[in-house]
């Protein structure tokens, strides 16, 4: 990875490079809202950014300050599955060096070691997160409320058939108080590893839980600047965040499960 430590600061903020993994194949059910939330929150704070869309076959960009990957159906013969293995080394290096990332749904599963399908085939993942996923015939569907040490209450909507099990050295994003979470058994939801966040939650996740968005932005700035960045320096966005708080409160009131 290129370090940005000695880059000249001509503007108040450096331009961040956002990388979207497989925008065509891995973006479902409002996932576009996660990327838009990051872009708008940067734009509203006058932090310049550019977006690199990584399609199968594209080289992994030389600069990446924030990585986003969404949901999608994973099959053993989908182009994404093999292409991810092609870029897994630079991707892993980036995550290990502290580049923040948000991976949801299918991308979250593919960041793990493997996905075991219903017919017992094993699809190899990028092995960035020490976790694996076992597919299941029963989907977990419904509103989710979860408690995170780092972010407080997290809400969203889950709709997945995979059961994900965290291994050693990786923490859950949160613990569910309502909903199935990673596997409907151990109460965990999502994963946290270095500055990467994995989650099963739709909603989408970032607009409903802006604290996670701002965490990713702070870490992206730190990566780009090569020095610590005080979160207090981020301009507050009270109007939109009040909307998010109201919406999240409603999700908590309407939190039955469909199954």
């Amino acid at each position: 990875m290129i370090t940005q430590a000695n880059q000249a600061h001509t503007a108040a903020f450096p331009a961040l490079t956002l990388v979207q993994l497989y925008p065509w194949e891995m973006s479902v059910n409002g996932d576009a809202g996660n990327l838009q939330t990051l872009q708008r929150r940067l734009q509203w704070r006058s932090i310049p950014s550019k977006l690199v869309r990584l399609h199968p076959g594209d080289p992994f960009p030389s600069q990446a300050d924030l990585i986003v990957g969404g949901g999608g159906q994973i099959t053993s013969n989908s182009p994404v599955t093999s292409d991810l293995l092609r870029i897994k080394e630079p991707l892993r290096e980036a995550i290990e060096s502290g580049v923040p990332a948000l991976v949801t749904g299918g991308s979250y599963q593919l960041f793990g070691n493997y996905l075991q399908t219903i017919d017992n085939r094993q699809i190899e993942g990028a092995a960035i997160f020490n976790l694996h996923t076992q597919d299941n015939t029963q989907r977990l569907t419904g509103n989710v409320i979860a408690q995170s040490e780092q972010f407080g209450v997290i809400v969203g909507f889950e709709n997945h058939s995979g059961r994900t099990w965290l291994g050693a050295g990786i923490n859950p994003l949160a613990r569910v108080t309502q909903g199935g979470g990673n596997n409907n058994e151990d109460k965990t939801e999502g994963a946290r590893y270095h500055n990467a966040v994995g989650s099963y939650l739709f909603g989408p996740l970032l607009p409903l839980n802006p604290g996670i968005a701002d965490f990713l932005i702070v870490k992206a700035l730190e990566h780009c600047l090569g020095e610590p960045f005080d979160p207090q320096e981020l301009t507050a966005l009270p109007a939109i965040d009040a909307c998010a708080a109201q919406a999240a409160a409603i999700v908590q009131k309407r939190s039955w499960n469909i199954n």
Partner: protein, 451 residues
């Protein structure tokens, strides 16, 4: 055709069904589901036998968006050619609803006065139905993310529709511009002819989202050549449309509203032409152009199906109410109405009838509402809608969770400059619509079903 043999020869079953239907109606219900359920339990062969006796067979129409209106267009086009059509226009689109429609039309002696059945079925019910009654014709309009809390993934939905295509015996007509349906070209149905309807090149940019188009083209590139479309939508502008059929361009005014209904009309034309040509067995050019002209004339008269959208006039103020239930439908609805000079309200509920997941709102681009703004957002998920508009930088003036209170506020909207009442645009999910409709109906000076 008057002296046809019986469609079904167990008068007991028919009498039972009709009796249950009459009783259900007496009790005040619409009474479509229960009688169908009883008959299907008592005599599972009833529906397959009766439908199997239809001389022109059974047509299944399925899609994420546009089923109801397209079914109505096809029905009216066939009727204009003197076919007697049985259809499940009650909106009850599964086997029970189909049986209810049959019970209403069959005599106690087992005679059915219909030549063809045109049935609207949702993706899951279409497969179940086709396993019991293989359709002679299947029309597939589109596959878009919808009700993912029910279907899981859009790929799964697409697979359901391809299964229906593979069980079809006569002809499958599909949307050439839908990347999930184009896959039919590589695995064509074993028994049926495969035909396409599509968009002329100049329209593809307007209709298909940029990303979607690139993916579609990547998919089509695998095919040897661009698929030929039996009917192409060549131009559309508000109240008229042009279609490319058999090498000539036919233009007509449309009563149907919304550009996407013009595209549904292209689908209906392709299907109807195929049904008629299989019935008549003629393919003469002269006959064809005469027929095409007749169909276009009939198309001009078709009005939109009830329930998808309605227009009201309240104290001189025009009010348009449009049902939105998924991202694709919402996008098309936004493209179909000019938001300038009108006040907009969006009502999002999350009951079972609406779908409990509202994440899809982030797959809709609302930037066309940026300039006029949105007067009100409402519904159980009003704040999610407000949040969505916030990220699209669309001003939203008021959040009022109760739809009826919100409607009262909306009806007092006045143009800021002239102070005159503004035309009102309401986008709402299903249960919100059922809540708003009675209030709008009682207050309306005039009511007209439009979309």
């Amino acid at each position: 055709m008057t002296d046809r043999s019986r469609a079904y020869n167990n008068p007991f079953v028919i009498a039972l069904g009709k009796t249950v239907q009459a009783l259900a109606r007496l009790r005040g219900g619409g009474g479509s589901a229960f009688p169908g359920l009883v008959v299907d339990k008592v005599a599972p062969s009833f529906a397959p036998k009766v439908l199997g006796s239809l001389p022109c067979g059974v047509v299944v129409i399925s899609a994420t968006n546009g089923k109801t209106t397209t079914t109505k267009i096809v029905t009216e086009l066939l009727q204009s050619q003197n076919l007697r059509v049985l259809t499940n226009d009650s909106g009850s689109n599964f086997m029970r609803g189909v049986i209810a429609a049959l019970l209403s039309r069959i005599t106690l002696g087992g005679r059915l006065d219909a030549d063809i059945a045109v049935l609207e079925l949702d993706e899951a019910h279409a497969v179940q139905f086709a396993k019991r009654v293989p359709p002679r014709y299947t029309l597939l309009l589109n596959v878009m993310p919808d009700q993912l809390d029910r279907f899981g993934t859009v790929e799964y939905t697409a697979r359901l529709l391809r299964q229906v295509a593979h069980m079809t015996t006569g002809a499958v007509i599909a949307n050439r511009e839908d990347r999930h349906l184009v896959e039919l070209a590589t695995t064509p149905p074993p028994q049926a002819r495969l035909l396409w309807f599509g968009l002329a090149p100049q329209l593809r940019d307007d209709f298909i989202q940029k990303e979607e188009k690139a993916q579609l083209d990547a998919g089509v590139a695998i095919l040897d050549e661009r698929l030929h479309a039996a009917v192409e939508l060549a131009a559309v502008d508000g109240s008229w449309a042009s279609f490319e059929i058999d090498g000539s361009t036919l233009t007509t005014a449309l009563t149907l509203k919304g550009v996407y209904n013009a595209y549904n009309a292209a689908a209906a034309l392709a299907l109807t032409k195929e049904i008629l040509s299989q019935r008549d067995g003629t393919d003469k050019q002269e006959h064809n152009s005469q027929l095409n002209a007749q169909l276009i004339e009939a198309l001009a008269q078709v009005q939109s199906a009830f329930g998808r959208g309605e227009s009201f006039v309240i104290e001189g103020q025009p009010v348009e109410m449009v049902l939105v239930k998924n991202a694709g439908g919402f996008r098309l609805a936004l493209e179909s109405f000019d938001p300038s000079n009108s006040a907009t309200m969006i009502v999002i509920n999350d009951d079972i009838g609406d779908g409990r997941d509202v994440s899809w709102l982030f797959d809709v681009d609302f930037s066309s509402l940026r300039k006029p703004g949105v007067a009100l957002v409402s519904g159980t998920r009003a704040w999610d809608m407000a949040l969505r508009l916030g990220y699209d930088e669309v001003p939203c003036h008021q959040v009022e969770s109760d739809p009826l209170t919100a409607l009262d506020c909306l009806l007092t909207c006045r143009d800021t400059l002239s102070g005159a009442p503004q035309p009102l645009q309401i986008y709402c999910t299903y249960t919100a619509m059922t809540k708003l409709r009675p209030r709008l109906s009682t207050q309306a000076d005039a009511r007209r079903v439009s979309l």
